[in-house]
């Protein structure tokens, strides 16, 4: 059974909250309109469709668009290596959706990482702490409005960060800006 058939089965079960499956480079993506139902959809995908392996969860900051956050779940069936990408949007005001630890326990660290990097919270996560950054770090560094150079922070007597000089880094110009300062992110002075 192909990934497209499985995606159609998922759609048949959940109806209009799921988009039509889209294909790009041989990969099937299906969009879930209501992030609150993510755990339910995953549960069905695992129990009924045999997606026993969660490869990864990624997050995306669509800065300046609504909804701001996109969560991307990569599901796989080990038996025949069928893969399905499940996407769902979360608004900035809400920044929260249910955890899927109950479905795959590997989601635990992936969700902690997304919370750490993007600041999206997972309701029902038993241990939603920072994982790569340290406790007490005040920012979410993978957000698009967080500057590449970083921001200064202090945890008294423990640690601190300064903005990086970024001199001579191999950083690319972004097309479209009106002058070199606009085009080169490394010369931007981050707002503090």
């Amino acid at each position: 059974m192909s990934a497209l058939d499985l995606a159609n089965q998922l759609k048949a079960k959940f109806g209009d909250v799921l988009s039509e499956p889209a294909e790009f480079r041989g990969e099937i993506t299906i969009q879930l309109a209501d992030a609150e139902r993510i755990a339910e959809v995953c549960e069905f995908a695992r129990k009924e469709l045999g997606f026993d392996y969660l490869v990864d969860i990624s997050s995306l900051d669509n800065y300046g668009e609504d909804p701001r956050w996109t969560l991307i779940y990569h599901l796989r069936r080990l038996a025949d290596s069928c893969e399905l990408r499940l996407k769902t949007g979360v608004s900035e005001e809400k920044s929260e959706l249910p955890t899927i630890i109950g479905v795959w326990r590997t989601a635990n660290w992936h969700e902690r990482e997304i919370y750490d990097m993007m600041g999206i919270r997972f309701r029902g996560h038993p241990n939603l702490r920072r994982i790569l950054m340290w406790e007490g770090y005040p920012y979410f560094p993978l957000r698009k409005d967080f500057p590449l150079a970083g921001k200064p922070t202090v945890v008294p007597e423990v640690t601190f960060t300064k903005t990086a000089p970024l001199e001579g880094g191999p950083f690319v110009t972004v097309p479209g800006g009106k002058d070199a300062i606009e085009r080169e992110p490394r010369v931007r002075t981050p707002e503090v």
Partner: protein, 398 residues
Amino acid sequence: MQGEKMVLNMGPSHPATHGVLRIVLELDGEIITKADPDVGYLHRGDEKIAENMTYTQFIPYTDRLDYLAPLANNVAYALAVEKLLGIEKNLPPRCQYIRVMCCELARISSHLLGLGAFGLDLGAITVFLLTFTEREKIYNLCESLTGARFTTSYTRIGGVSRDAPPGWCDAVRKFLNEVVVNIAEMETLLTRNRIWVDRTRDVGVISKADAIDYGLSGPNLRASGVDYDLRKAQPYLCYPDLQFDVPLGSVGDCYDRYLVRMEEMRQSVRILHQCLDKIPGGFDNQAKEPVNVADGKIVLPAKDRVMSSMEELIHQFMLVTQGMNVPPGEIYFGHENPKGELGFYINSRGGGTPYRMKIRSPSFVNLSILSRLLPGHMMSDITAILGSLDFVMGECDR
């Protein structure tokens, strides 16, 4: 349970943690009752950096993920971007063979280090010396192939930075004949060694269901008896043309993980021999087989053409300043790295830089099982379990 529990901090600087892993342990005497791994000490923000440079400029950063197998990371990353570009099927055959050889050399190198350090942690120092002798030869091969021993940055999007130099294939063949002798010697030192078996057998058992549930990949998944290898399940490069077996464990303990890695090295040797037999263009490429895709909008043109031809000059200029023009879209590509599945999720909105790049690192996912795996074991089993999981923090923390 008699006395009160003790909290013990292990790491981040501890020789058995292979880098900067910290584990907060709760002990009842010598028995671990709770383990809380703490990662992130080597976090460098690679995903953030990737959003701010061209696809080609990120290649050196991939060396620094799993820094024990940089060649495999280079290949994984290049294949991911090529999938996004839709050119992975157009790669010249010679390029595919060279890349497979890179991956398999990296696998041998990574497993040699993993097993050497595993042995060292459990007191088998001779093994460590043996494996490092062999790894040195792989570094020499890397040096003559790429110009660097450690940070290879060898692949380019659409090919490799240069063809294998004259004599390199002969050197690989010579190395393969030597390494099998040393692998056999390691085997005699460990496989039936009473101390080794006592310390690894039935220690750190990961059941099949747990291995899948926790998303383990690579040798750790296969040692638990799950027959899943991306080289077979989702073949890429020229792997479909090559014969090799995927070793599986039956119990999922440290001993099985050791055996699986041992056999994987032998299978890698077997793959490398086949590559040498079949490599298009022969050892020294007398036939002048290409190693890059023939597309001036993806691969840098030859330098002499840049100096003499308008079109090539423009291509060179555009590629260096803005990068290649990648179509909007998103892909995930998983690569069978020595440590497990190294995946890149790339979200592009067009242009020369990724909008978002997520690195699915096998070490990060493999370590997440520690808090389930460690409790119930003795304190001294930690070194065996950590050694057998074979993680690397550069990749875990990114």
